[in-house]
Amino acid sequence: MSGKQINNHKGFMLSIGLKQKIVLTITGVILLLGLMIAVFVNINQTNALSSVLQNEGVTITRNLAINAVEPILTDDLVGIQRLINEVRKLEENVFYIYIIDVDGYVLVHTFNKGVPASLAEINVLEQGGNYSAKLLNTEYGYIRDIAVPVDSLGVIHVGISENNIRRQVFNTTWTLILMTFVVMIFGVLLASYIAAWELRPLDHLTKGADEIARGNLEYRIEVNTKDEIGILAEEFNKMAQDLNTSRAELIKWNEELEKRVIERTKELATSDEKISAIADSALDGIHVIDKDGIVKYWNKASEKLFGYTKQEAIGKKIHALIAPERFLDIWQGAIQSKAVEVIVVKKDGTEFPAELSLSKLGIQGGWDSVGMIRDITERKKAEEERKNLWQQFLHSQKMDSIGRLTGKIAHDFNNLLTSIVGFSYLALELLPVDSPATANVKRVCSVGEKATRLIDQLLSFSRTRVLEMEVTNLNNIINEIRDILEQMTGEDVKIELKTESDIKNIKIDPAQIEQVLFNLAINARQAMPEGGWLTISISNVEFGEQIINAYPGTKPGTYVKLSVQDTGVGIPEEVQGKIFEPFFTTKEKGEGTGLGLSTVFGIVKQHNGYINVRSELNKGTAFNIYFPATGEELAENIHDKPTPKAPGTETVLVVEDDSATRKLFTDILKLNGYNALEADCSEDALIIFEREGAAIDLLLVDVVMSEMNGWELYETIKKKAPDIKVIFTSGYVDNPIIHNVILKNDLPFIKKPFTPDLLISELRDVLDKNK
């Protein structure tokens, strides 16, 4: 409230003109001075006159005292009375006189009635005192009572009235006040006049300032006086002059500058547009933030990346927009100009990995940051896939080397088994039916065949088995073996089959695929000791380009998916990578060989298919197998049994470096009526051919031989006898010649080990062809 009053007051002082201020000041000063003088005079004069009066009174009183002594001593009261009456009459300021004796009795007085009793008590003279004075305020005005001793006889009191001097002082004071007012009025008039006169140049100044302020720099102020205002006016004129010239310069400069600004603005505009266009065309999200993280620029790519339009993003905090709260720390770290990988969030809440690089952009009075955000989802995925791929690659490399090793071992075993089984069968045929050895030889045959199957599995894994491919449909195979599967899994395990009618055909070795299903079913059963569900599902799947990334060596296209799923114990993750390795088992010794899944793996690979496992502990395991679909139709009568053969008459040249196998071949041939020539190497074979020539109907050639191999031998002989027939044999399947030449050209091939029946039936087929 008081502050407001002060402001108002201040405002008032500020708002009034200089003239008024001067006049007001002078008025105030005069008034103040006058009043001060009046008060001062009043007080001082009163005091001075009082003291003068008092002195006068003391003198009168002393005189009286002296003169009163003798009359008192001589009891001449009349004389004293006359004396004091006289004095009172003569001295106009003497208001009363009275004398009291030492006993306090009044000797004489000038009062009408008598000396007031209280009066003597007011001004008591001290013992031995010269005089005493006291001011009294009576109904007759101010009276100064002066007491003087009359020797030791008494005290004389004289009352001196101050009325006169007080009136005088009063008059003086009022005269002064009146004079003050007169002087004030005069002063005000004079001040107004002087102010008006003296401030005239100031008016000119004001007007000049106004003019200049309005832009009239040509205006000059009249200079009439040589005082401060005159000097000021001159200065003002000089200033106006300077202003005028500098304004002219300024205008020139300004025009120049404006021109430049326009040019620069144009340049800038185009460069701005350019920059904007460049930024907008960038694939990366580009934004500019100020030091508080407020978005100032937001390019098109950012809009696309985050779903916020320019309008939505600009003015918001970048962190609030795209930084997920739990990653704020990482974002905070992204101040350096180093690129960092961060997780960003879109408007719709989805998150994706991004690479963020911030760089400072110095601007006047601070800095902005330019942020570049690149979506690295694809890159991340690719990196992930590359990692997968590498693992897969390593895995397949491992599998391959294991496969090669097992293949070599299996091959050697195979040759041995071929002899064992072959000779056993021969022996069985040669032995009389009732011979006691027959049973033993039969046992050798069956154990040999068991061993053959074992080797077969190993060969399957090493993908060195010779496949007997047929166009078939998985539905058919499942239907054929369902009963067997149900028997295998037992009553506790329910088998569910999920399939579609239009499952694509695949080209496979049905026996091998059956093997796959059996192995998987057995494992499932073992994983569900308490029983459960075994689900076999078949479906067509289309693999796009992605499959290439996910599975190395895969080709895009249509596949038939075979999934075998159980509700068993599941496979611990750390073990999942090893289960396809041969001899890996978690089962008791004797219970599992660890070959089941490795066989499956081999077979699937050999069929150009893929296998993976998905498993969760205590929930179950699913093996997914993909076979490439084929457009071919189903072959008919593929399982025709070979018809019993008539004894042969033709001549067969057996070329085999392994003597036991060669002996087995010749024995079987001779047993079945054929003429058998034999050579232990290609050179020998050529010599025999030279010797026998056209008599030879068919070459039974081992492919893998030192020096000249089976294929070269055949080629050489074929040149001389183009009609000659050939059957290749081998324990190896992964030999390039077998794959690239023999199987590719659909040349007759017998995989070792073989049964005599198989050999004879194949022989017959080849000899009978193209007859």
């Binding site: 201040k10 002082m13 105030g28 103040l32 009043l35 001060m36 008060v39 001062f40 009043n42 007080i43 009163t46 005091n47 009082s50 002594v69 003798e70 001593l73 001589t74 009891d75 001449d76 009363y96 009275y98 009291i100 004796d101 006993d103 306090g104 009795y105 009044v106 000797l107 009062f111 009408n112 009635k113 008598g114 000396v115 007031p116 009793a117 209280s118 009066l119 003597a120 007011i122 006291k134 001011l135 009294l136 305020n137 009576t138 109904e139 007759y140 101010y142 009276i143 020797d151």
Partner: protein, 307 residues
């Protein structure tokens, strides 16, 4: 802001100025019924003793107060010192019996004795004798060497009734066939001897006749004025100014008073008072002692009528 400051400053000056004005004034009403009483009338059981203005009343008061206080103590009653300007007034008081006793001048005694039978009580003895003289004094630097030399000059008598201050010089003039009017250019009455000494010392007059007791006393105690005067003539001895009583004073008191005076010098306390007054003691005196003065007066009265 400046304006505010100026106003504040002036207010301060104002209050300072008015601050020094304050003088306490006692409020009092003068026209009241309750007044201070006047001096009550003299009581009967008071012994009033007058002292003639041999010296001025003020000095008399100073010198005799002690003695009167002593008398009051001895008599066992209050004693009031009564003074009058002239010998005649004191004589009148004695005559009217308004006072009981009085120290009177020799001249006054012989007048009072003749007029109404003024009664002698005692007389002081000073400087070893019950006499005194009249001195004619002139200023110390005066050329006058004898009374004769004062012809045509200004002269001061003391009291018309004074023996030493009026009668003695008038007698001398009469013998010369002169009167004061013919001899002096101007003469005045000072009504006391000390005043006459003062008048000579200050050369208000060219000569004066004074009581030898007074001049000697003053010359011994406070020679301020006496030192400025010189004695050019000493008269023959006169009876010393006595202490008298009124006729009506009861004999018992008179006897007591007489005894008191006569024994004063025996009392060591009072002896001091007497010493101050240059009085040896009080003695009984006969009326004869004043015959010389009486003769002188009758001689003068016969030849002169002016007073």
């Amino acid at each position: 802001m400046t304006y505010k400051r100026i106003i504040a400053a002036s207010l301060i000056i104002f209050s300072l100025l008015s601050g020094c004005k304050k003088e306490e004034a006692e409020v009092i009403i003068l026209e009241v019924e309750e007044t201070i009483p006047p001096v009550p009338p003299a009581s009967d059981d008071e012994l009033r003793i007058a002292v003639s203005a041999i010296i001025s009343p003020k000095k008399t008061f100073i010198y005799y107060k002690e003695m009167l206080d002593y008398i009051s103590k001895k008599m066992g009653m209050p004693v009031k010192l009564v003074q009058r300007d002239t010998y005649a007034e004191v004589n009148e008081l004695v005559k009217q019996e308004k006072i009981h006793a009085a120290f009177v001048c020799t001249g006054a005694y012989i007048d009072g004795k003749d007029e109404f039978g003024m009664k002698l009580l005692v007389a002081p003895k000073a400087y070893g004798e019950p006499y005194y003289y009249s001195y004619i004094i002139v200023p110390a630097d005066s050329d006058a060497g004898s009374f004769e030399d004062l012809r045509g000059m200004r002269f001061a008598f003391t009291d018309p009734m004074s023996n030493s201050g009026k009668l003695a010089p008038t007698y001398m003039l009469a013998k010369m066939g002169e009167t004061p009017s013919t001899f002096f250019s101007k003469y005045i009455f000072t009504y006391s001897h000390d005043k006459s000494i003062e008048a000579v010392a200050q050369k208000l007059v060219d000569g004066a006749a004074v009581d030898s007791l007074i001049w000697d006393y003053l010359n011994a105690t406070s020679p301020k004025f006496t030192s400025k005067t010189k004695i050019i003539f000493k008269s023959p001895p006169f009876g010393i100014p006595p202490v008298v009583v009124s006729k009506g004073l009861d004999p018992k008191t008179e006897a007591d008073l007489k005894k008191l005076f006569l024994d004063m010098h025996l009392d060591p306390d009072c002896k001091k008072i007497l010493d101050k007054l240059h009085i040896d003691s009080f003695i009984e005196i006969d009326d004869d002692a004043y015959d010389s003065s009486r003769e002188m007066r009758s001689w003068v009265n016969e030849r002169q009528t002016d007073k």
